[in-house]
């Protein structure tokens, strides 16, 4: 059996939250010992959807990033566990043994793994005094009669979540363009992402004298860090969008259109998405 991977396409996800609910449906009030003890009624999100509101009115987008346990190949949670309750299985799944976990009572702290996980994927079950997290539904995967995979994967209405063996050719193909969240953590996650958000800069070019939008104006964005140059033309609403820029770069924006004076729109830093708003062009 190959190692398991999950690939989540952020470009497809609509934030319907079905995965969050399916996860609760599987684990709340259900005891899957020895894999997991019941999840509390509320407060835990073993599948958590992070919501990013981006831009400003009227150029607003929302990106949803479902984040389960990353089932890291280099799991920092396992390293700090004083009771060796966190286990990496041969198929790549990381599990917390609910019998061995003592909530770090033996060392007199709250579970250390919770703070060790840079992705915030581990939760404390106060009632049972154990740390808990996503199991990738290992109790179901190990059941030869179960055919639907992990619950979050099964419930996704538009198959934004893909799950399978990393040896599967289809998965291999998808992995070519996949990224992990925060690779700088160095934990080697087994949960991959497609189309992770990249910043945009957008705006609208207007002729204030004619009180018209300017259609077909050429807008250029110069990446002041790399020298890369991007070019686009305003659409029928006078709008321009540069999508998929790089985070934390500086861009010099210019606009030109025959009959108008060329204009430097400004320099913008992509520490967040940028809506430059209405840009007024003067007649030449």
């Amino acid at each position: 059996m190959g190692k398991k991977v999950m690939i989540i396409d952020i470009g497809k996800c609509t934030g319907c939250m079905s995965c969050v609910i399916a996860c609760k449906d599987e684990f709340v009030e259900n005891d899957w010992s020895p894999y997991s003890k019941p999840q509390p009624d509320h407060g835990h999100f073993w599948m958590k959807v992070n919501v990013q509101e981006r831009g400003s009115i009227p150029k607003v987008k929302v990106t949803y990033i479902p984040t389960p346990c990353m089932h890291c190949d280099n799991p920092p949670c396992a390293k700090v566990c004083p009771t060796n309750a966190i286990v990496k299985r041969d198929d790549g799944i990381v599990l917390i043994d609910p019998d061995k976990c003592d909530g770090c009572k033996s060392v007199g702290t709250k579970p250390l793994c919770i703070d060790a996980c840079p992705y915030g994927a581990i939760y404390y079950n106060e009632e049972l005094n154990i740390a808990q997290k996503c199991t990738l539904c290992a109790h179901l995967l190990d059941d030869p009669n179960w055919k639907y995979g992990p619950r979050c994967y099964d419930v996704c209405p538009i198959e934004a979540i893909v799950f399978g063996d990393e040896d599967d050719p289809k998965i291999k193909e998808l992995l070519k363009n996949a990224q992990v969240l925060n690779p700088e953590f160095g934990t080697k996650p087994r949960v991959y992402y497609l189309n992770l958000p990249k910043p945009f800069i957008g705006g609208c070019i207007v002729d204030p004298e004619a009180k018209e939008v300017v259609i077909g104006a050429k807008v250029t964005a110069l990446d002041l860090y790399t020298g890369a140059k991007y070019e686009t033309y305003t659409d029928e609403f006078g709008d321009f969008w540069f999508k998929d820029l790089e985070w934390n770069h500086k861009y010099l924006l210019k606009v030109e259109k025959e009959g108008y004076k060329e204009k430097v729109i400004g320099v913008y830093t992509t520490d967040k998405d940028v809506n430059v708003g209405d840009v007024f062009l003067a007649k030449a």
Binding site: P34, V62, V80, D143, P157
Partner: protein, 912 residues
């Protein structure tokens, strides 16, 4: 995040290895037994729209009498689904999964909700002789037996009959949305029972709320009477995907509103639009859940001002010669009158983009750009059931003007249409949402006879039954508090346009006692419209008895004298009519779990009461109306195509659990369309302008000047023969704004279905705002610029108020709402701090939604009994929760669940 890196830097201890790929330790026999998938599996119907039809069923796993899990529906892998072939490619839903709406994925929590009514309840200080109406909503409940409850109900029916001579003083509220079960869990049996009882009743007529402006206005322009004033949807996706270039979504949010009507397949259809290269422009005060994911352009607009937008668009088209003159000349009447208004020849105000900018808040250059793009590209308008959409008071004017704009660009020509994200079978020719061919590729016989027909559903949506006295839903509190009331139009959804000008009166005669008893199966009037007014009506001494039949103790039920515990679809065996998605099927399910507490199904409850009434009034025919429930289901099933054509016997269905109707191939579908006259005829699709027969208007043409309006109400300033710009007091331009500076937008809820599901712990946790006092408040969206002015931040509690009362909400500061507007979704559960001072902690906005009756002088005819539940003016201020606690200490002593809020326990009188 960086803090966590510290741990990563620690010297690695030895990484423990798992034992192969198995569990952590060897599982015990019991544990293996527990995990293994050998559970009992049942399908359960889903979908909060109700109306005895289901979306994709849940696959429910049950073990030891407990629901273990609820899975989405999986079509068999080899099942051949439909496809649409166009020059732009083939469109097909590739996945075989059909996922129910979120609320149903979380329904396990609703079944076992702490708010469930577990046994019959009686208000502690109510008795037939001593009703104490002033204490409704205050005095709390005690548990009684079924026998006592039924005795009291039968006694009250007898008293009404003896006192008033008949049962007309009983208002039966038994329509609207709810659970989708066929036999057991639907709330239409009240009207059915009273009809069979044959002693009269007052019939609450479900108003056309989701079609609002189209019904009250657009019908005058284009008819479409059987489809509630919206154009037919025949083969509409073939047309759109082949021809349309631009889709305008005005307040249309299929990502939110479609799942409750068909499960979560809407995203596939929006993705079809994108694949076909169709640009999506969203126009709304808010960036809704569809806009932020899918729209190419968001045009923020002030609430309820799209009438001005449409007029300005028409202005651009007329002055720049950008409309379809030949079409207007050949197929429309009255355009010249409209043109005069647009150019300001009648009122001196040319409806220029500059004029519209001041009203709508949309820059004039954007209005001009939109007008030109709409004219240049084949443009369609997309809606789903959206209630008021981006509108509010007098929504009929913008809807009519929207129709005018569609007509000016040749509505009915290829790619220029009006389409809904609605995939249900609609029962062609059955009188509701009639059309000629289905919206999606389906066999005609499946469309017509595939689903099951329920003998009582007609009470919920079609014209009022002849024996009940009609009372339009929006006017119920006024009919109780200020009788007599007079109004125009029954409001029944399937009515000819003339009915807009029919006059009705309640009570129907001077000596009539009016409403004295309420049979409430809906349970949510308080969260629909002007709830505080309904509460006032419920607490008046006119109401001798208020019965609520509902599974959860919430909203209207808080004001009941007796509450009967209804149950959920999980607790009964029943047939399932799966017709509200792209694939049509019939299923059967056994009971998943035993009824919670002493609850009974809606069917069983009415059967129980019918049996008693049959004796009391010597009416044995009542018993025939309520046969054994399996017989009831079987009778309906044996009229379906599955039985008649596909020869699946009842016993076989019970054994096989599900029968799925086949889908046509693309070639078969092409043949179906051809045979049914669905083709491009001249310039048009035949559905729109069928050879000679035309539209359902007096002229058979599209009417800019309505002949009905001219004939029946030529001088009506509210609904003039030609739709115009009409100022009123809930607009951003109204002087009332000095007192109430915000317009409130109230959309369909993302995590509820109207009022359904606000007790759901898992869902509440996703979106409620936990205030500093720990209470989970309904969120209100406020733009950062307004939040600064108000001095509020994320998580603060604000009071939202107008002349009708106030509600509390939790602040969510966001760029997704236009400055000057706030957004709070409707349908939050009531949790009143003070009934007298009208303060609600639950955040049910519709408590303070104005009633349509207020527009008119007392005694005056209410010409348009519309709903006004969005776009109205309110004030917002930071709430002082400590001050409220001091002033209303009792309200804050209620026992609350930390996430769910009020539960059954909250309202029980202790020790009784």
């Amino acid at each position: 995040m960086n803090n966590y890196l510290y741990f990563y830097g620690l010297a690695a201890s030895t990484l423990p290895k798992g034992t192969s790929s198995g569990p952590l330790r060897e599982a015990t026999k019991e544990e293996i037994e527990n995990i293994k998938n050998d559970v009992k599996v049942e399908y359960v119907p889903t979908l909060s729209a109700g109306y005895v039809s289901s979306g994709p069923p849940l696959e429910v796993h049950i073990k030891n009498g407990r629901i273990v899990r609820c899975l989405p529906f999986h079509l068999p892998e080899d099942f051949r689904t439909w496809e649409i072939k166009t020059d732009r490619g083939t469109f097909k839903i590739e996945t075989k999964k059909r996922v129910p709406e979120l609320l149903w994925l979380a329904y396990k929590k609703r079944v076992y909700s702490p708010a469930r009514v577990k046994y019959p309840l009686k208000r502690v200080d109510w008795s037939p002789d001593n009703p104490n109406p002033q204490n409704r909503g205050k005095s709390g409940f005690v548990r009684i037996s079924w026998e006592e409850a039924v005795n009291l109900i039968v006694e009250m029916i007898k008293r009404i009959k003896d006192k008033y001579g008949n049962l007309e003083p009983v208002l039966v509220q038994s329509e609207g949305h709810g659970q989708p079960g066929f036999t057991h869990c639907c709330h239409y049996y009240g009207a059915y029972l009273f009809d069979k009882l044959d002693m009269g009743w007052t019939h609450q007529v479900r108003n056309p709320d989701s079609w609002e402006g189209y019904y009250w206005g657009a019908k005058l322009a284009w008819g479409f009477d059987p489809t509630v004033g919206e154009p037919y949807q025949d083969g509409v996706w073939d047309n759109v995907l082949q021809h349309t270039e631009l889709a305008i979504f005005t307040g249309c949010d299929p990502e939110t509103t479609s799942p409750g009507f068909g499960g979560q397949i809407q995203t596939h259809f929006i993705n079809f639009l994108k694949k076909a290269g169709i640009k999506i422009v969203a126009i709304a005060p808010d960036a809704n859940y569809t806009t932020v994911i899918h729209a190419d352009k968001w045009i923020p607009i002030n609430p309820n001002t799209d009438a001005a937008l449409y007029l300005a668009i028409a202005y651009v088209w007329i002055t720049e010669d950008l409309y379809d003159k030949e079409y207007v000349e050949k197929y429309c009447v009255g355009f010249e009158e409209f043109k005069k208004h647009v150019l300001g020849e009648d009122d001196g105000i040319p409806k220029t983009p500059e004029w519209a900018e001041k009203i709508t808040g949309i820059p004039q250059w954007t209005i001009k750009a939109l007008a030109r793009a709409w004219a240049k590209k084949r443009t369609s308008i997309a809606v789903h059931f959206g209630g008021p959409k981006v509108r509010g008071k007098m929504s009929h004017l913008p809807a009519r003007l929207e129709a005018y704009c569609l007509a000016m660009q040749g509505l009915g020509k290829p790619g220029r249409t009006f389409f809904r994200f609605y995939f249900s079978t609609i029962g062609l020719g059955r009188g509701f949402l009639i059309s000629h061919v289905p919206a999606l590729p389906r066999y005609l016989d499946v469309e017509i006879g595939g689903r099951l027909v329920h003998p009582a559903v007609g009470y919920a949506i079609v014209p009022p039954p002849p024996k009940g006295i009609p009372l339009i839903k929006t006017l119920v509190p006024d009919a109780i508090l200020n009788p007599p009331i007079k109004w125009w139009c029954s409001g029944a959804q399937v009515n000819a346009t003339e009915d807009l000008f029919e006059k009705y009166e309640y009570p129907p005669s001077e000596d009539h006692p009016g409403i004295r008893m309420i049979w409430n199966e809906n349970g949510c009037y308080t969260t629909c419209w002007h709830g505080y007014k309904f509460i006032e009506a419920l607490r008046s001494d006119k109401i001798e008895f208020h019965l609520v039949i509902h599974p959860w103790l919430e909203n209207d039920a808080l004001f009941a004298d007796i509450v009967l515990p209804a149950l959920t679809d999980f607790e009964v065996s029943d047939v399932i009519s799966i017709s509200r998605q792209d694939i049509v099927a019939i299923a059967y399910h056994d009971k998943c779990i035993e009824p919670v507490g002493e609850s009974k199904s809606d069917y069983e409850i009415h059967k129980l009461i019918a049996e008693r009434l049959a004796k009391e009034f010597n009416k044995p025919e009542l018993l025939e109306a309520f046969p054994d429930p399996e017989q009831f289901a079987r009778d309906a099933y044996e009229k379906s195509l599955a039985f008649k054509k596909y020869k699946v016997s009842w016993e076989d269905l019970k054994k096989r659990k599900i029968f799925i109707y086949p889908c046509p191939t693309w070639e078969e579908w092409a043949e179906i369309k051809k045979q049914n006259d669905f083709e491009v005829y001249g310039d048009f699709f035949t559905w729109f302008y069928k050879r000679g027969s035309g539209l359902e208007t007096p002229s058979k043409k599209f009417e800019f000047v309505s002949n009905y309006a001219l004939e029946y109400a030529p001088d009506d300033p509210e609904r003039p023969p030609v739709a115009k710009w009409v100022e009123h007091d809930e607009l951003p331009t109204s002087p009332k704004r000095n007192k109430y500076p915000f317009q409130v937008v109230s959309n369909h809820p993302r995590y509820r279905f109207h009022a359904q599901g606000d007790d759901n712990e898992w869902l509440r946790e996703l979106y409620k705002v936990r205030g500093p006092d720990g209470y989970m408040y309904e969120p209100v969206w406020i733009h950062p610029s307004d939040a600064e002015k108000l001095g509020v931040k994320d998580g603060d509690i604000v009071m939202i108020y107008n002349d009708l009362g106030s509600i509390l909400a939790g602040v969510k500061v966001t760029e997704r709402i236009k400055p000057g507007s706030i957004l709070i979704e409707h349908g939050a559960r009531l949790d009143l701090i003070s009934i007298e001072d009208r303060i609600d902690r639950g955040g049910a906005l519709d408590l303070i939604a104005p009633s349509s009756a207020e527009k008119y002088k007392p005694g005056e005819e209410i010409r348009i009994p519309e709903q006004i539940c969005s776009g109205f003016l309110v004030g917002v201020k930071k709430a002082d929760i400590n001050e409220l606690m001091k002033k209303y200490p009792e309200a804050f002593k209620k026992k609350l669940h930390p996430v769910v809020g009020p539960t059954l326990e909250t309202y029980l009188v202790e020790g009784k």
